[in-house]
């Protein structure tokens, strides 16, 4: 089949702000166009997250997303390209888009990563780790503050999974993260799969990090799958959630249960019953009601 130029709906400038939705709660899922039908069919769903850069600031919203919003499901925009950890100031055009998307979705909260994705004008194509130094803390905090000037809702920051570390860390991971949260006033988006991946690849105990993080600052939690290649665990989002990650979810909830948890799946989508089973496992591990 020949790909045709997509017809672009031209919308007039319209008031694009929705009333603010309820905070994320219970078990949710990352909304992706490929699984829009599955997500729409989840009867107990109260929140989803959407990649902020995939949502247009004006014009038509993706159909499945609009249906969820009309049903009162909370939609949280999740930025992946702002590069808040970049030494350069965050790009004003990207900030404007991010803030506009948050407004039109009526999001009670937005999220981004503690990472950088470009430097010297070159895109890395991936979230890259920062050195755990005071200079890097300063860079993140400066960018988060710039972003907060354009936002009308709080932001939650997500620590990433990294296959390598910088050679000159001055702070422990918990010190580094806590310092950023304290100085920026941001909430924490805790990715349990990232905690698991980093601990496994560094040979540390993931529970130690949970013990040292300010868990009362967690706005919501990511859960995702991964796979091992050549002795390293890769946080792929294209594999099933492994048992140890679910155990870590339970350990987290035993310490301080977060208000919301969600499954992140970004490709190689399994049949709907398998995806539903993963959501049920997250519900079981956290003690929240099943949404399927």
């Amino acid at each position: 089949m020949v790909a045709a130029g997509a017809a672009v709906a031209v919308a007039e400038d319209q008031p694009s702000r929705r009333p603010r939705a309820a905070l994320a709660s219970g078990v949710g899922i990352g909304w992706r166009p490929e699984i829009a039908g599955f997500v729409e069919g989840l009867p107990g769903l109260r929140f989803v997250e959407v990649v902020a850069e995939s949502v247009p600031a004006h014009g038509e919203l993706p159909g499945g997303l609009r249906t969820l919003l009309d049903r009162g499901v909370t939609v949280i925009p999740h930025g992946v390209r702002l590069s808040l950890g970049g030494a350069e100031p965050v790009d004003a055009t990207r900030v404007e888009h991010f803030a506009a998307v948050a407004d039109r979705l009526g999001a009670p909260l937005v999220s981004e990563h503690i990472a950088f994705v470009r430097a010297g004008g070159v895109e890395a194509g991936h979230l890259l780790p920062l050195p755990r130094t005071r200079e890097a803390v300063d860079a993140v905090v400066a960018n988060v503050r710039l972003l907060q000037q354009s936002l009308t809702v709080p932001i939650a920051l997500e620590p990433i999974a990294a296959l390598f570390d910088w050679p000159d860390d001055e702070l422990t991971e918990a010190q580094f993260l806590t310092e950023i949260l304290d100085r920026s006033g941001a909430h924490l988006l805790l990715d349990v799969a990232n905690v698991y991946a980093n601990a496994r690849n560094r040979g540390t105990d993931p529970l130690d990090l949970l013990d040292d993080l300010p868990l009362d600052r967690v706005a919501y939690v990511h859960v995702a799958g991964g796979a091992e290649h050549q002795g390293l665990y890769h946080d792929t989002h294209t594999d099933a959630v492994p048992e140890p990650v679910l155990e870590l979810v339970a350990a987290l909830c035993a310490r301080h249960r977060p208000p919301a948890l969600m499954l992140e799946r970004d490709g190689d989508y399994p049949p709907a019953p398998d995806l539903a089973a993963e959501l049920d496992e997250i519900a079981k591990a956290s003690g929240y009601p099943a949404v399927t």
Partner: protein, 158 residues
Amino acid sequence: MTRPAGDPGGQSGGGTLADRQAALVEALTAGRPVPHGFDGFRFEAARVALLRKRAGEVTRQWPMLAVGFGERWNREFAEWAAARPTQGSLRDGWDLARDLAKRDGLPLVAAAELAGREAAWHYDGRSAPRSRRSPALRTAAGATALQIAGRVWLLRGP
């Protein structure tokens, strides 16, 4: 693609955060040496994982291109992309398809996909593609596509 070398500050472990981040991105995306002090094995694992992820993203934009290579797709893309930082998956796939067509290496099943895109969009190879306002007839690797008012017809297969 040629780009200026990363700042040497990144090689010595010194330099500002900006210099060191630039050197790291260069090493990951442009085939430059791993910055000093980093674990070479892990850095290489991250580089390979990044190329695999990019290949998957290009597959979504250019499904027939990926299908045309079958199991060799990830390796084919990685070889091409190893020293080319991403311009986004749409342009990455487009640039690769054009390169392949130029050297008669475009899989036949991908010819219509490329011809259709060429007819529908104007892409100068340097900036974001724009949809064409006027009708266009384009041929790629033996496939010919006609676009009128945004609709595309395949006139001739490869």
